[in-house]
């Protein structure tokens, strides 16, 4: 297993380089003048010399190759390039401040998703074709179909406003890490994922339901709860983990909208701001480190397969 993990980590390097180059080229090709992107028509108040100086200090006057090599060298040295817009802030500052907040939101969403999705899937499978099954799957269908930002707006209206519902949660904000502020955004982010998990859990539970080893377990006289948890559910979890691995990346990108609506100071909001301002160093930094996070999540997913299913062995 250790050799497998090492091999996967080494394989990440060429992948990262390719992704890095692609992102750099795409960012470089983005149309628009960074000075005007930052200052808009305020540029009219500046002299041509001043505009040229700003371009010089932004580094946008340098040739493509020079910029590319400079970025590569900085990344390899683990140096963080400075933001072009937020003076005194480099990629390390941006990520260091926002990543923990985004991870909090992701983990909160994941917790909600697992808490709702797996039990709902199990209940629907056990009560197949009953009203309960149909109701749960209908809710799951709605959950999958409804855009996250729409869910967010509806949740805000009914769960934060005494005028329209119950003011259970604050409408937005980070609240110095107070869990109370995390709950609503996590609920919104998580319910979307919970719907997918519920559907896949139900479907795999039904597939496993007819397997011989379950008949054997019942014949041995094991308690129904033990059969359900130890034999039935654990064998149905592999596809759920696959879906989770894929969806966690979705949580990272989906948090952009959630962060904006709930004014959560995370990476999503920073990415949008950086793209709007053509702040290339920050865009590159966020993309590269975002890619690393996704690659690591994929690796963890693969490792989890082996833990959940003893039949899987990596050499």
């Amino acid at each position: 297993m250790t050799r497998y993990i090492l091999r996967r980590v080494i394989q990440m390097i060429p992948r990262l380089l390719i992704i890095y180059s692609l992102i750099f080229v795409m960012t470089y090709l983005l149309p628009g003048d960074p000075v005007r992107a930052i200052y808009g028509e305020e540029v009219n108040r500046m002299s041509p010399t001043q505009i040229e100086q700003i371009k010089e200090s932004l580094g946008v006057n340098r040739p493509f190759l020079e910029q590319y090599v400079s970025f590569i060298v900085q990344t390899l040295r683990l140096e963080f390039p400075e933001s072009r817009v937020m003076r005194g802030q480099d990629v390390g500052d941006v990520i260091g401040y926002r990543l923990p907040r985004t991870l909090q939101l992701m983990l909160g969403g994941l917790l909600v998703a697992l808490c709702i999705g797996i039990p709902a899937g199990i209940i629907a499978a056990i009560r197949q074709y009953t009203w309960l099954d149909h109701t749960l799957m209908l809710i799951a269908l709605i959950g999958v179909s409804m855009p996250v930002f729409w869910q967010a707006l509806i949740a805000q209206l009914f769960l934060t406003q005494s005028k329209y519902g119950v003011a259970l949660f604050p409408p937005g904000g980070y609240g110095d890490g107070n869990l109370h502020y995390l709950m609503l955004p996590a609920l919104v982010l998580g319910t979307h994922l919970a719907a997918s998990i519920a559907r896949i859990t139900r479907s795999t539970m039904l597939e496993v339901k007819t397997q011989d080893f379950l008949q054997t377990a019942r014949a041995k006289g094991l308690a129904p709860a033990r059969i359900l948890l130890r034999h039935h559910l654990s064998n149905a979890l592999i596809p759920v983990i696959t879906i989770l691995g894929l969806q966690i990346s979705g949580l990272l990108t989906g948090s952009v909208l959630t962060e904006s609506v709930f004014r959560w100071p995370g990476l999503g909001q920073a990415t949008v701001d950086a793209i709007n301002a053509r702040d290339v160093p920050i865009i590159m930094g966020l993309m590269v480190y975002g890619t690393i996070i996704i690659l690591v999540i994929n690796l963890i997913t693969d490792v989890l397969y082996a833990i959940v299913d003893p039949r899987i062995r990596y050499s």
């Binding site: 983005l30 628009g32 028509e41 003076r87 406003q161 003011a167 109370h180 004014r263 100071p265």
Partner: protein, 563 residues
């Protein structure tokens, strides 16, 4: 339900219960102030956006301060000043500094009762004149100070020779003739040429030199000034906290305990917090909800005329419209401003009933005023030889005006849903003119509208002071604006007005310029802004100027009886 899942659910429920009441009530009088974007940084030498300005104006002060409500320049660090003319005929401003003005004491910077002296003022002006863009963006705006341009040029020359050159923050051995320390509390500025707006545009924010040195790069994240509030904490994209400066030289100010600027990228979230009494103000209304919000909070609502202009710019550099004044004038008569702004946009702005200056400014009524009049527009086009063939396009005919190409109109994405756009398109179709819209975001838009592809573009101009120069100098003079309208006669009038000391004569010059501009019709004035906001009943003395709600002096605001 599995035990694990049940456990997780119980944990979640427990956390909810543990967190207690939804909001802790705030018994202090700290203002809770929503902002739509974070400042980029807090260094006043390089911060020139509104987002930074609305925070920094509470922390930093210059020698004097412009009152956006009255248009009057008031004393700040300087308690008085005298304007004289020297033997060379140059304007000399002699500032008498207040005694006992102290720099803020902020965590991370050790300053004990550090008083501001004339040497600090000189240091700040020299840093502002530093030609390195990484140090200051203010140099080009201070070129009218005697010797300032030469001082800045030394940096420019050195940086051109070696962009990586390690230049000193200020050149100690070089003096700027226009800046002089007379004594500890007297500072003198001499202008190379008279500038009647010097007290508005020429005063830099005064930063503590010791804090600047001690903080290094962190001067972008921490602010150490002399103003009514001092910096406490900044959590980017979340909130920025200021507290009342206990050592402020004006007794009794600020009248509140501090300000928390809370970042709301979405106006709808700010509305929810306002409704739940978590905010004291609301400045941005969610799109399409203006009327509903005003109805819901009728007693909290206030509104006053603003200084901003929304306009359609016309490419005057070259192309069909640049060459056809009659068509430009006809287009101006085709915009139904009343319907667009009073009805369709729910009164978000005042329809532009005069010219390109808001009514509060001198010379705001030009000789030519374009009101909605399709018949007049038709007559102008007919007279210019652009005749229609058949029924109008809007009625399904092919009534296009011979010789007028399809107009390529650029729209900024953020304002591309304004109702005036479709309304104008329909009226132009009635006239036999087709338009083609191109929508772009802010990163490319400002580049695109100054290309020859663009024939018309939507735009706005945010004047900061009640003076025509703040509009004309940036949109008209020497083809500065994106229209690239460059009329030598107008340019000369505007230059004369800049240095004319007599108010009546200056207004007359601006009036002449305005008359010529509106007759030439390089732009179509669409609307004048309204400064609109909600404030809770417990907020008193919040008085913004026409430049926007951010111009209100927050130090005068009183919070009384907040639940």
């Amino acid at each position: 339900m599995s035990r694990v899942s049940r456990g997780l659910c119980l944990l979640l429920a427990g956390l909810l219960a543990l967190t207690g009441s939804v909001f802790a009530q705030d018994s202090s009088s700290v203002l809770r102030y929503p902002i739509d974007s974070d400042p980029e940084q807090l260094n006043p030498f390089v911060s020139d956006t509104i987002a930074a300005g609305r925070v920094l104006r509470n922390i930093y002060e210059g020698l004097a301060r412009y009152n956006a409500e009255t248009g009057v320049v008031e004393p700040a660090i300087a308690e008085s000043w005298e304007i004289t003319t020297n033997a060379e005929g140059q304007q000399v401003y002699t500032f008498k500094l207040r005694q006992g003005v102290l720099f803020h004491e902020v965590a991370g910077v050790t300053l004990t009762d550090r008083e501001v002296t004339a040497d600090d003022i000189l240091w700040n002006y020299l840093v502002a004149l530093n030609g390195d863009d990484n140090v200051s963006l203010l140099a080009s705006g201070l070129e009218f100070i005697l010797g300032a341009a030469e001082y800045t040029a030394m940096y420019d020359t050195a940086l051109e020779a070696d962009p990586e050159a390690d230049l000193p923050l200020i050149m100690e051995d070089v003096s700027v003739p226009g800046l002089a320390v007379i004594d500890d509390y007297t500072f003198q500025i001499t202008l190379a040429q008279p500038d009647r707006l010097f007290l508005i545009n020429g005063l830099v924010s005064i930063v503590s030199p010791e804090a600047y040195a001690a903080l290094g790069d962190d001067i972008n994240n921490v602010a150490v000034g002399t103003g009514p509030y001092r910096f406490v904490e900044w959590l980017r994209d979340d909130r920025l906290t200021l507290e009342a400066n206990p050592d402020y030289y004006l007794a009794g100010l600020p009248k509140n305990d501090g300000v928390v600027f809370i970042n709301y990228p979405e106006a709808s979230t700010a509305l929810l917090d306002y409704r739940e009494n978590n905010l004291d103000f609301l400045f941005a209304f969610p799109s399409g909800q203006r009327t509903a919000v005003i109805e819901e909070f009728a007693s909290d609502f206030s509104e006053k005329p603003g200084l901003h202009l929304r306009y359609w710019g016309i490419n005057m550099n070259n192309g069909f419209l640049a060459e056809n004044k009659a068509v430009r004038q006809a287009l101006s008569y085709t915009l139904d401003r009343q319907t667009a702004w009073d009805i369709l946009a729910e009164g978000a702005r005042f329809p532009a009933s005069l010219g390109m200056l808001v009514p509060a400014m001198p010379a705001s009524t030009p000789a030519t005023i374009y009101t909605y009049d399709l018949a007049q527009a038709r007559a102008i086009l007919d007279a210019a030889g652009f005749t229609a063939t058949g029924a109008p396009i809007a009625e399904g005919g092919d009534g296009r005006r011979e010789g007028i190409p399809t107009l390529r109109v650029y729209l900024l994405e953020a304002i591309s849903t304004e109702p005036q756009i479709v309304l104008w398109q329909e009226d132009l179709a009635q006239l036999g003119i087709e338009v083609e819209f191109v929508i772009e975001d802010g990163a490319t838009y400002w580049d695109s509208i100054v290309t020859d592809e663009s024939m018309i573009f939507i735009n706005g101009w945010a004047a900061g002071i009640i003076d025509p120069s703040d509009v004309f100098d940036f949109l008209i003079l020497d083809g500065n604006g994106s229209m690239r309208y460059d009329n030598p006669v107008v340019n000369e009038l505007l230059r004369q007005a800049r240095v004319e000391a007599d108010e009546a004569a200056r207004t007359a010059l601006y009036q002449q310029a305005h008359d010529i501009i509106m007759d030439d019709a390089p732009l179509i004035a669409s609307a004048y802004s309204k400064v609109s906001w909600l404030q809770k009943p417990w907020v008193q003395d919040f008085v913004p100027g026409g430049g926007g709600t951010y111009t209100a002096p927050l130090w005068n605001v009183v919070i009384e009886g907040r639940p």
